[in-house]
Amino acid sequence: MKRKKILSLAFVMLLGLSAILAACGSSGGEGGKSSSSKGNSILVFGRGSDSTSLDPSRVTEGETFKVTVNIYETLLNFGEEDTTVQPGLAEEWETSEDGLTYTFHLREGVKFHDDTDFNAEAVVKNFERWANGDADMFPYYSSMFGGFKGDAEHVIDSVTAEDEKTVVIKLKRPQAPFLKNIAMSMFAIASPTAFEKGDDQFERNPVGTGPFKFVDWKPNDTITIEKFDKYWQEGLPKLDKVVFKSVPDNSNRLNALIKGEIDLADGINPADGEKIESNEELQLVERPSMNVGYLGLTVTRPPFDKKEVRQALNYAINKEAIIDSFFEGRADIAKNPMPPSISGYNEDIEPYEYNPEKAKELLAKAGLADGFDMELWAMPVPRPYMPDGQKVAEVIQSNLADIGVNAKIVTYEWATYLDKASKGEADAFMLGWTGDNGDADNFLYVLLDEDNIGSNNYTYFKNDEMHDLFIKAQTEVDETIRNEYYKKAQEIIHDEAPWVPIAHSTPLLGAKKGLKGFKPHPTGSDILMHVEFE
């Protein structure tokens, strides 16, 4: 009696369950089909996190620029796959002999999404908006142009509209990377009609001249943009809509790509590269490298105040093994603090080879023949330049053990890690950098100059000769002479060895097989107007 009842109950439950699953199954098939047929011109771009704002001038964060490069345009553009300066909203430009006056000739027939005309006056208003701000409102403006209106260090003297289509920018002193700075996605030209309504309103309702216009933002979930019909380039963009979807977990993003829920996925783990390559429906896309991952040695903390000790660590670490195991070979060994694609890279530097014997000799010379104890800080988060901080730290730890150095691996939550490292509390720490504008200054000066101690120079490294070179290079307009300065600076850095440069990695993306025209940009912000489905 009892048993019968249980059996029948179990049977009913099983029946119910299978009915539910069957229902899910049948509609799953339909859902899949419908999305591929009607979703042909909708691109779903999966990425790690949401944007902070949609006003690029107000943030310093990459996830914002990923979206805004498609809504806004800049006076000058970067090349499709590099950081050479190309025409943008300005068709042509001239630089005066002394490098103080730049004349931009603007493109005709360009309109903002709100139907406002794009002209010289609009450009002037944008520059005025930034120059009248403060460091809290426009953090990037002050780092690139030395401050705001009235500040002594402010590089820009005046921005004037010569006529409807000509803008003249006068500088107080020459700035070598000026044109590159102008091409950075944060200096996008926005519709004055839109931002004059007030900043807070504008940050959520961006209006630019770009190929796509803003539609909708569901926080932490999706940002949708759609084709701008009056875009000045005939036949572009090719897509009707782009949806940027936040999928925080890397393996989940890969799953969503395999399932076809997203068409393009950023931030693929190097270890998953092969999985995509072997999948017939997917293609692996490599982003040109513009980064460096390194081990920083805080020169104010003994024994790292001794050059020999720093050099010894450079000899002791087997970079090749690290790249083979944790970057899956998708990275180049670094010998300088910036990647080879950047103008001014010093090819002639002889890299420190992997040579534990030599490392031991150097330690002996420094009076540390018996080795020493140190803390090794492992990055707690994966970044393209350091996919697995913990594991790389373990390799470094065993390399160091070989030369008698006893390294203890420590790690902190990311914000804490950066905070403590910037205060010089780490003996040796892992970190990296992705370039913003492809200029040598953006790597060398920002990461290693004494002016940036307390912000991005975490090693507290200081060198007067190098500092002079950097300052001279900032105002040197002649590219050849400027590159000589940077090459010399790299020699000093190599000899003084405040870093163990490890790798220039190739960030990976995954895409549907039929996706065409996608060219990943080294800065990490991709313009999607040429993208289409086969």
């Binding site: 199954g25 310093t60 403060d134 460091a135 002050s142 780092s143 989940n252 902190y412 905070d419």
Partner: protein, 334 residues
């Protein structure tokens, strides 16, 4: 009843105030300067200083604390340092996403968990009882992220029955009115979208329901077993009432109170947001919202976010306490 309610609500004040103070001190004790974190590695020291001043972070902590309390009393929960939006505006979509998922999960947990517990008690020591209780043990001990990934791999990818993540079919997005998509789609008569929304709820819902389901099942079983041995049940059976009614009507009514407590606690817990589940299933809920805020040291969002979650938690407890009175006439509040 009314005076009881008033007393309970008054008691909330010191609880919430104390909680606010603890959270306030805790987030200031962890290293990391919000201005630096929010502005990013590229920021200049001047920018950081300017932001510190604007955010009032240069003032002593007690000034900051009393300013914050003062603002809350005026109904101002502050503004996110990162996005510069008022927390009150920003929090609702996230809270709605979590609410929808939590209600769905608790429904699964209650329906399956309670029935499993009841049947286990009814047929004590049967194979069903053993299986259910072993499953419940596994359920409590199972890491949710593992179960979530397994579900994604098995059900979403290999079988292709359900979507891997998100709240909606992004190529055909729901027009958000209340941000509770189930309700939004019904209001707009988009039943095709409603079906999609439900399909997106199933995997994260099950992942999230596992632990509460197991706890509810065990609680129901032990509570039912106690009641089933009491005299009035024997009487009910003796007078020839059908066993089903004896169990589901007479026994359950007396056994349900401890179960209700557990359900209330679990519901409160689910509403706090489940960071792991929300991360794995790319669910834009309150757990991820507060977690991101912690990473960015976005003090107002952390403080007010936790305050709201805590408020909901204590309110649910209060509702549960009031329900006791409705279910059991012997419990009276005055």
């Amino acid at each position: 009843m009314v005076s009881y309610l008033g007393r309970r609500l008054l008691q909330l004040i010191p609880v919430l105030l104390g909680m606010t103070f603890i959270v306030f001190m805790m987030i200031r004790a962890i290293p990391g300067n919000p201005a630096q974190v929010i502005l990013g590695q590229q920021a200049t020291p001047e920018a950081v200083a300017a932001m510190n001043e604007k955010l009032g972070l240069d003032k002593p902590w007690y000034t900051q604390f009393f300013n914050y309390i003062g603002n809350i009393l005026r109904g101002d929960l502050g503004e996110s340092m990162r996005t510069r939006l008022p927390v009150t505006d920003e929090i609702w979509p996230h809270l709605a996403a979590t609410l929808e998922l939590a209600v769905f999960a608790i429904l699964i947990a209650v329906v399956i968990g309670m029935n499993a517990g009841i049947i286990s008690a009814w047929f004590q020591n049967s194979w069903f009882d053993y299986t259910a209780m072993i499953l419940a043990l596994v359920g409590v001990s199972m890491p949710i992220f593992w179960l979530g990934l397994l579900g994604q791999w098995g059900v979403a990818i290999e079988l292709g029955w359900l979507p891997t993540s998100g709240r909606e079919e992004v190529r055909d997005p729901v027009n958000a009115i209340t941000n509770l998509y189930v309700i939004d789609t019904i209001i707009q008569g988009r039943f095709d979208q409603l079906w999609q929304v439900i399909r997106h709820l199933i995997l994260p819902g099950i992942a999230l329901a596992t632990i509460p389901m197991a706890i509810i099942a065990r609680m129901t079983r032990s509570s039912m077993l106690e009641v089933m041995r009491s005299d009035y049940i024997r009487t009910a059976r003796a007078k020839g009432q059908k066993m089903f009614w004896v169990v589901y009507k007479h026994a359950l009514k007396n056994a349900i109170i401890p179960v209700l407590t557990v359900i209330g606690l679990q519901m409160g817990m689910l509403l706090g947001g489940a960071i792991l589940t929300e991360t794995i299933f790319a669910w834009p809920g309150i757990g991820r919202y507060i977690y991101d805020a912690i990473n960015f040291r976005d003090y107002p969002v952390i403080q007010s976010g936790i305050l709201i979650v805590a408020f909901i938690f204590v309110m649910i407890n209060l509702v549960v306490d009031l329900l006791y009175g409705l279910i059991d006439a012997r419990i009276k509040y005055d």
